[in-house]
Symmetry: C2
Subunit: 405 residues, 2 copies
């Protein structure tokens, strides 16, 4: 969920320079067309989509037995560039990648948690996003115009359906492990549920079987902000001024939900932006206001407002038990993957209780499941910030999964 590029909390991931022995070095995005006329991608909403292109990156080498693939599933605002330094940031006009490695660089690389000396690591941008995989700003072949709101509503299950095509394309019968936080964790869950024989293990972090009512409400307010922006124009703003103000607002709000009460108190408290006394004005006065505004602005420079609508809607719709009359245990029953679930004590978007509920259902369904609640003050963002804390847990889980494989 978080924009890990802009995490401002004290705890910042260490940057490995591209030449470092523990960095995957310079990376290049790859693109592949995975749906075309005659082979469209069927969607949950009933529509079919073609063509569909997927942007992905890989790090490390696929083993001769093709059994060492770890598929990293990004969250709402993420992309395929999970590790290393993008050698083509200029080609694709992604200046925000210029001075920063991929969003999970501190966990992916030689000797790291997802050790590229050992594993073949894949990360792909999701359908409806704006980082190389087909989404609302791409051209609708029907009329040669950008889709805008004519893009069909997509679901987490649609993302999985597409990613399985990528899995096939890469010739990987069974993914060794899926790994995802937040919305990425929900993809992992759906994948393990819908394609049980294609997944060996799954690590699900800061996630749950569904988003709570409060989370639905925050998403709704964010979408309202975008759709009420006068530049929104029913989603037909491409080539015109974008609804940046609305997207900024949605991001400011989202950001609050990714942090925690404690972490905000610790980082910002009630400190003033300038000096130690109030200036008695309505504009930004407290540090936290300026911080949020900065985050919102940075995000609106790198994300598409329509994508934000589609991806938050997919987040809303996901309910692992929906196709099972609401019976979560029944939904989990077919899962063959070994599961590791991690929640974070101060996460209030996917609170520990919701992760624990999923862990309980998995256990009841007889799925090989481990669950840990990690004490953390970093809220939902913790899945990106507590890498050091969770590394031993994840490493030993992967070791065991490969032994028991």
């Amino acid at each position: 969920m978080t924009d890990p590029l802009n995490v401002c909390l004290e705890k910042k991931p260490r940057f490995d320079q591209p030449g470092s022995l523990s960095s995957v070095g310079w990376t290049r995005p790859q693109r592949v067309q995975l749906a075309a006329r005659g082979n469209p991608l069927p969607l949950d909403c009933g529509a079919e989509l073609n063509p569909v292109t997927v942007e992905y990156e890989t790090y490390g080498e696929l083993s001769p037995a093709r059994d060492n693939a770890i598929f990293i599933l990004h969250a709402l605002s993420g992309d395929a560039h999970a590790a290393g330094w993008d050698a083509e940031w200029e080609v694709f006009k992604r200046p925000w990648r210029k001075n920063r490695p991929g969003w999970w660089d501190d966990t992916i690389g030689p000797g790291k948690t997802f050790d590229t000396n050992r594993y073949y690591v894949i990360c792909a941008n999701i359908l409806g996003s704006c980082y190389g995989t087909t989404g609302p700003w791409d051209v609708n072949p029907v009329n040669g115009e950008p889709y805008g709101l004519d893009f069909p509503v997509v679901t987490v299950e649609d993302w999985v359906r597409l990613h399985v095509r990528l899995q096939n394309h890469l010739g990987i019968d069974k993914i060794f492990a899926l790994v995802g936080g937040s919305l990425g964790g929900q993809q992992a869950l759906a994948w393990a549920r819908d394609y049980p024989d294609r997944v060996g293990a799954a690590v699900i972090m800061a996630s749950a079987a569904r988003l709570g009512s409060q989370g639905l409400a925050f998403n709704a307010v964010g979408r309202h902000a975008i759709m009420k922006d006068p530049n929104f124009r029913e989603g037909r703003y491409y080539g015109l001024e974008a609804p940046a103000g609305g997207l900024e607002l949605a991001r400011m709000l989202g950001h609050i939900t990714y942090l925690s009460y404690e972490s905000m108190e610790g980082k910002f408290g009630r400190s003033f932006q300038y000096g130690s006394k109030p200036c008695y004005r309505l504009g930004n006065e407290f540090s936290v206001e300026s911080y949020l505004e900065h985050q919102g602005r940075a995000f609106s420079n790198r994300f598409d407002a329509n994508s934000y609508l589609y991806l938050t809607r997919a987040m809303d719709y996901f309910d692992a038990a929906a196709g099972y009359n609401g019976d979560l245990v029944a939904a989990c029953r077919g899962i063959e993957a070994k599961m590791l679930l991690l929640s974070y004590s101060s996460d209030w978007l996917y609170p520990p209780g919701a992760t624990a509920e999923l862990a309980g259902a998995l256990c009841s369904a007889g799925v090989d499941t481990a669950y840990h609640e990690i004490p953390s003050q970093y809220g939902h963002d913790a899945f990106l910030l507590e890498s050091e804390t969770t590394a031993p847990l994840i490493s030993s889980f992967l070791d065991q999964a490969s032994q028991r494989g």
Copy 2:
């Protein structure tokens, strides 16, 4: 904070009809000018304001000894109409009052917690609001135009300074008890601190010495929404279309913070607005979305966007210890009033820990203080919804205060 007129949770206050023995019956707002040329109201920001009118209501009779006054302090979106049925809703164009009693009618009236057979109950609209007390939509005598953003930034302490003038106007040397929830509780605290000999007791509910960083952040997003609305026009929208969309958004967001995770799960969960299956669309789909939109719209029909900016800013600025080098115990030391503090377990805007911190400081300062955390699922709204639960606590506190008086 809440719009108690629109509380949708299952727990609704019972309506006493105007003819009921336990109702204060038909009420009429009163207005008095409390600052004029030659006697302006000095403000914390350094400006002075005149004229200043205050709208207030009273229920019950002031005793011959003038020692039975209870001053009710409303929160962000409240008004002076705390009890009974407004006989002049048409005169002042307040249609939302037509079929509903005042916002705290279930606690104020003959035989109720604030028993009008015994107490003289006063409630006044705060400075900067839009319900009869001077605010940004009133005419600036300097240019004959509505103030808009030329209205000075006001603080909780300014409200108190004005209300003490009302206290003088009513000839009440010492208020028997101040009672306020949320921002109203902060007024009570400031009043007891700044005018110790004018206050006998104070009941502070769902409140604290200051708002946390997360609360500042939510307020900032709400103000952004208003100020980015194209109809905002730097606050000069009077007589034109109001920035209703921005105010709606701010209110939707605010509303989430007044509820709790549990109460939203219980009331809305993930239920769909229509039917039991997704319609696969970006517009309202879940009940909670429609509810929030309804709340936002109702609010924007009855509240002024500029007032929202000013009142949330006052909420931000309030820090009981600010004038005491951050030393809350020092701030409390002069308080002579007996204090009753109530927090609500699921309130995350002013969480119990923050109320407890204030209670601790009061105790350390030697102030006669009682503190209770009320178990409740209703979040911040609980101070309006748990009236039955808290009635015995408040009644016995008032009884003791009058005996020890």
